[in-house]
Symmetry: C2
DNA sequence: TTGTATGCGTTATCAA
DNA sequence: TTGATAACGCATACAA
């Protein structure tokens, strides 16, 4: 493997000149530049990663990671865990990472957080774009400063960002539909179930993908209530019981947002002896247990570990080496988990 | 983040002394060593990765990757692709990788290959343990030289190796059983199907896991012929047609080894109008297509990309930094693929 | 327009 | 038992 030094010797020039050419910096005679480029191509020059990292240390990069605080049983807990692991890795390359965890959505709390972030002089920011005034204002400040931002879990195209890392929710809905079909021989009746306050982006997209996939690909499947979801409240599952009483023909349900997890148990109880397949999202701790015990039939993952780690990695590569992310939207895998492969 | 230099200053000694202590090398006065250790712990010292890589370059490592040659539609093709990608990455760290692809199992061919490997003075080897005389002899030679070996895809405990990277086949069989149950409401009749020459390790293990999981967890499921597989020949699927004619009650089949892929189509045709779920292994190109078109219901993956990349990565870490692999057996994920998430 | 010198953190050799 | 020094490959400030 060739090094800059070797190329310099072959070209009969100094390392500095070679570096100028390979990094497209001005101040080299065209003929010389041409020669060096030719030699570099000939010896298949690839810059040594360790050398680049070492040199990049001098930039003393500082990155931010802004996310929702999640207790042990939530999706964002898994994301933050992954981010902390990646943070240790990047610290070993001389990068500093600051974490900003949003606990409550109080105005003063968010404003204080935003002020803190603005004062921290970050070189890059990975965050969930929470559309509250304080956070929106923060994003605009970072945008104005030219600080690169990467969004994860939720995209927000109205803000200039480097890229998005997270789930393709429409596609997730389609996978859920495929699972519903798979578990009912392609001829079942399936319903949507969701928590009362689920009029959010990810719910809408998943429901859309689910209904579309069913109608486009599984004509023999019946979608209950034309795709209108059964809505339940935190701690009150009477709507679920009513659903099963009124629809004995129900073969499968896709619970889009759970809130807590009791709803799965309630649904299983309400279904009684009938075979019923229950499909959910996000393999958090509580759901592992329910998959094991057969309460939940299948769960769709969206790689929280990637959502936590990749944004930081991409920011580092962008700032340290000037490498752009590979795509505008980097979608996570849509993993299917059942009792045996968790 | 602290560096050796900073620790040296704090301790009032030279970098060399700090290095000796932190790398457990002899020749340091116990008192001094104690002090340095204390300071290192206090400042939470973690060695800089780039520095280590750079220093490790001087070792001029050379690794080997020995695998079956696979054409575009085979599992080993995906493995080799991943290995080549990782090889480029490691080349950028100053490591040389040599590939040895086994095309045919002729005695002379294997002997020539083994001789070549032995002459190449490798520092480490990633390989599939093919138990033919020439390769066995090669493994013993490497073992005698103290060259670390990592096996992937198939384990071979009789040879001293650093670790195994690959599928837990028994568990894969259990996942297949879970899928069979999921697609038949837990009450179906399911059969095993496999190619004639499948009396190999991975077949045995998968069949074992499959039958065990069914009997232990799904008492309402019926396993056809007590788990004895229906065996078909390359290009001759009469056994498959006979199977469906004699067993109209069949709801699902797990095709353990396919050989070519026509068997899936034949089974779908033989099943006629009945809902039948077909479960297979390994998401190679041809199977993607069949998942899309609905011929195959679900496929179990075993991360060929990890099997190709991780062994090389682990060899590098072992040889460059003296880091042992995290476990004796590193199992790949058992991914479930359906039409919508490939 | 080009060359030289220095530093990033770690490791290893040589000298004291 | 310890210190000083050079080397790995890259980037860059400064000198020529």
């Amino acid at each position: 493997m060739a090094t800059i030094k070797q190329i310099a010797e072959l070209a009969g020039v100094s390392r500095g000149t070679v570096d100028r050419v390979l990094n497209n910096r001005p101040g080299v005679k065209p003929d010389t530049a041409e020669l060096i480029r030719k030699i570099a191509a000939e010896v298949n020059y690839r810059p040594d990663l360790a050398g680049k990292i070492l040199a990049a240390r001098k930039k003393n990069l500082r990155l931010g990671f802004l996310t929702l605080e999640g207790d042990e049983f939530t999706f964002f807990h898994d994301v933050t865990q992954a981010a902390r692991k990646k943070a240790v890795e990047l610290q070993n390359l001389g990068v500093e990472i600051r974490f900003y965890l949003v606990r409550e959505f109080t105005r003063s709390g968010l404003e204080a957080l935003a002020a803190q972030v603005e004062g921290d002089q970050l070189d890059g920011m990975a965050m969930v774009p929470m559309m509250t005034p304080a956070i929106i204002s923060l994003m605009h400040t970072l945008e104005a400063r030219g600080t690169p931002i990467i969004f994860f879990n939720i995209d927000e195209p109205s803000v200039k960002r480097l890229c998005y890392v997270g789930c393709d929710y429409v596609r997730a809905g389609r996978v859920a539909a495929g699972l519903a079909a798979l578990t009912t021989g392609g001829r079942g009746t399936v319903g949507l179930l969701t928590l009362h306050d689920s009029d959010n982006y990810s719910y809408q997209e998943r429901a859309l993908g689910f209904t579309r996939e069913l109608s486009e690909r599984y004509p023999a499947m019946t979608l209950l209530n034309g795709g209108a979801p059964t809505i339940f409240q935190h701690g009150d599952y009477s709507a679920v019981h009513t659903l099963f009483r009124e629809h004995p023909e129900l073969d499968a349900i896709y619970i889009v947002n759970l809130g807590d997890f009791s709803v799965c148990r309630e649904a299983r109880i309400a279904a009684g002896e009938r075979p019923l397949s229950i499909i959910t999202n996000d393999l958090v701790a509580a759901q592992r247990e329910m998959l094991q015990s057969g309460v939940i039939s299948a769960t769709l993952g969206q790689q929280p570990e990637v959502q936590g780690a990749l944004p930081l990695q991409l920011l580092y590569q962008a700032l340290a080496f000037g490498e752009a992310p590979g795509a505008d939207k980097l979608y996570t895998d849509l993993n299917i988990y059942i009792s045996q492969n968790i």
